[in-house]
């Protein structure tokens, strides 16, 4: 039985006349990796702060693990690990000492704390640097130490606020793999906040699009793209050229859009065809790649390249902003 681990109901936070979070309703199920996506200043961090009881909502309620975060933040903080944006450590202490401090704040005894801290440092690959002062750590190491730091309390939910900020691509990949493997291993619920779409796409089960305090859409990436691109959720990219023997001139090597439209005329479900950089883009309502390939081959042309392109978060994101601007 999978229950809801985070429930936000009509959550609103106002700073004076500015509304940071506007009537937010969101539920996150146990054990899933949820990505909260939005540009800077969308209210992501404010939402997290309200989940942890670090700031009070103007109205609405937050429930984490069935506990109200506003009235009982201590219980919530016992179950939720939070990695803030730009996490900082005490520079004059070593990585291990920093972890031990957090562990003892979570009422672990000295012995348990040491055992757990060493185990976690090993897991995040910092066991060699555990005796080094954190002032000398690199950004990626700090972020990994932050991960160990939030896991030390053995949480049910972990909230990561822009965890990949300022890390090089390989570091990002490692960190994300670490997060996902750990969450699967321990059955953690992960709330992942970011404006990096690709990263979220790689790891999240579901995403929520969050723009200027409002949740525009939520769901897995496929259903999101379906709901957005109702007319043409698929794009087939096809590179078609004339057979070598037929053509002598290179300029006549390519077919025109009219030609391919004619070829594909009989296939149901094609909504639009256009040429982009010498490759035909065929928008269609469902997966038609095999039909298209068959039609092109039967027409006697060479099919050099065929690619089924699904919409990524980038496209979803931009489409939303276009839509958003269009409404205003």
């Amino acid at each position: 039985m999978v229950g809801n681990i985070i429930e936000l109901t009509d959550l609103t936070k106002k700073y004076g006349s500015f509304t940071a979070v506007d009537n937010l309703n969101l539920t996150i199920r146990e054990g899933e990796v949820f990505g909260l996506l939005g540009p800077n200043g969308a209210g992501k961090t404010t939402t997290i702060l309200m989940m942890l009881g670090l700031t009070e909502p103007t109205s609405g309620s937050v429930k984490v693990c069935d506990i109200n975060s506003t009235t009982n933040p201590i219980e919530v903080k016992r179950r939720v690990g939070y990695l803030p944006e730009n996490v900082g450590f005490y520079d004059n202490l070593t990585g291990l000492q920093n972890l031990l401090f957090t562990a003892r704040l979570n009422r672990l005894s000295g012995k348990d704390a040491t055992a757990r801290a060493e185990q976690l440092l090993d897991k995040v690959g910092l066991s060699k640097a555990s005796g080094k002062e954190t002032g000398k750590y690199s950004r990626g190491m700090l972020q990994r130490l932050g991960l160990a730091d939030l896991l030390i309390k053995n949480p049910d939910v972990i909230i990561l606020d822009e965890p990949t900020l300022g890390i090089d691509p390989t570091g990002v990949k490692e960190l994300l793999e670490l997060i996902v493997s750990m969450s699967k291993e321990q059955g953690l619920t992960v709330l992942f906040c970011s404006h990096h779409l690709h990263q979220v796409q790689q790891v999240c089960d579901r995403v929520g699009l969050f723009v200027s305090g409002k949740l525009l859409a939520e769901g897995d990436i496929q259903s999101l793209s379906k709901s957005l691109f109702t007319s043409s959720p698929y794009i087939i990219e096809a590179g078609v050229s004339k057979p070598v023997t037929a053509a002598t001139d290179s300029s006549e090597n390519e077919y025109s859009v009219e030609w391919i439209s004619e070829v594909l005329r009989h296939i149901q479900g094609i909504t639009n065809v256009y040429n982009k950089n010498g490759i035909f883009h065929i928008e269609c309502s469902h997966d038609l790649s095999s039909d298209i390939a068959k039609a092109v081959i039967t027409a006697g042309a060479c099919l050099n390249y065929l690619n089924k392109k699904e919409y990524g978060l980038d496209d979803i994101y931009y489409r939303y902003f276009e839509g958003g601007e269009g409404h205003e």
């Binding site: 939720v80 939070y82 803030p84 009422r107 000295g110 932050g146 309390k153």
Partner: protein, 352 residues
């Protein structure tokens, strides 16, 4: 035959057991010793803060300054103490207290030094309490742990207070010890208690400045701003406020022919203006505690002095005399703490 040298093992065991018994009275210390016990998060923060303070360069430099000046003033006190006792001095019986109050004019005495450097100590321990945590990005991490928010600020205050107390008690006892060695006359119980009360008063005074610094550290986001504001307040209160009061005093000074009531009221107004100052409260209180012959802190009429035999008053009476000063200092300290507490609790904690 009971020979302690014969069986050293059992003697050591016994003394160890004694030490353990002694420490077990302090549950906190006991918990530190055992590794498998759970320490309350409040004390975890306190211990961390104390170790941070003690290891910081800032603190080491301050200790060096304070210790040097105190020993300098002790030295002058010791060299001039012989001349300071006069035949008919009502404080002749309180030779030991003179260690803290005598000076030959080149260096101020011990208690003046404490009054001067104490604020600096309080400010330096407190000015970056909250804002440095915020700037390091550790504040939101610590507060997302399952602790109450006020633990942090309370524990930090507690840690600095413990450090200050230990420092001042050590200095006070060092002065007593050195005095014992050099002049060879032990302090009477009354003198001892007067010194203890003086040290506690100094702790209270430093705690006031510490709380002011903590307040600024909550209000200002940059540690440099908060340090400068603290020092500005300190300078204003120690230097400029006195100047302003003396200006006012000149302006409202009654003529030489004014009747005694007018003079009395004038004196009272000036006194009241000065007693807004924590430093004035502190110096009033310490003077009374360390010089038992002081019997009033306000103006006295001729009738009150007439027929009085100059002589020391008992400790209880001295304490009664300075009770308003002590209350005022405590009130100022609590006010600063409450202000910083409230603004910290209402603050939204963001990372950096």
């Amino acid at each position: 035959m009971n020979n302690p040298g014969k069986n050293p093992q059992s003697f050591k065991e016994r003394s160890d057991a004694g030490i353990n018994r002694f420490f077990s009275r302090f549950s906190v210390l006991k918990r530190v010793k055992k590794d498998d016990e759970i320490v309350h998060p409040f004390w975890v923060i306190v211990f961390k803060e104390i170790s941070d303070h003690v290891r910081s360069w800032r603190f080491i430099i301050l200790i060096a300054i304070i210790a040097l000046t105190c020993f300098g003033s002790m030295y002058t006190a010791l060299t001039t103490i012989g001349k300071s006792v006069k035949v008919n001095d009502p404080e002749g019986a309180f030779l030991f207290l003179k260690l803290f109050t005598t000076s030959d004019g080149t260096l101020p005495s011990f208690f003046v030094f404490v009054g001067f450097l104490g604020p600096l100590l309080g400010i330096s321990l407190g000015f970056d309490t909250v804002n440095s945590e915020q700037n390091k990005g550790t504040l939101s991490r610590i507060l997302s742990q399952p602790i109450h928010r006020d633990y942090l600020i309370n524990a930090k205050f507690m840690a600095a207070l413990i450090v200050i107390s230990v420092l001042l008690f050590v200095l006070g006892f060092l002065v007593i010890g050195l005095g014992l060695i050099t002049i060879g006359i032990p302090p009477t119980p009354e003198e001892f208690w007067r010194i203890i009360f003086f040290i506690m008063l100094s702790i209270l005074y430093v705690a006031f400045w510490l709380n002011l610094a903590i307040l600024f550290s909550v209000v200002f986001h940059q540690p440099a701003t908060s340090a400068l504001s603290c020092i500005a307040v300190w300078l204003f209160l120690t230097v400029f406020y006195n100047l302003i009061v003396s200006l006012i005093a000149k302006a409202i000074e009654p003529s030489a022919l004014a009747n005694p009531y007018q003079v009395f009221h004038y004196e009272k107004i000036i006194m009241t203006l000065l007693r807004i100052l924590p430093s004035e409260l502190f110096s009033d209180a310490t003077t009374t505690l360390l010089m038992p012959s002081v019997r009033s802190l306000g103006p006295l009429t001729m009738e009150q002095i007439y027929g009085a035999i100059p002589g020391p008053i008992p400790l209880g009476q001295s304490l009664m005399l300075v009770w308003p000063q002590i209350t005022g200092l405590i009130a100022a300290t609590i006010l600063c703490f409450v202000l910083s507490y409230v603004s910290f609790m209402k603050r939204e904690i963001r990372s950096r």
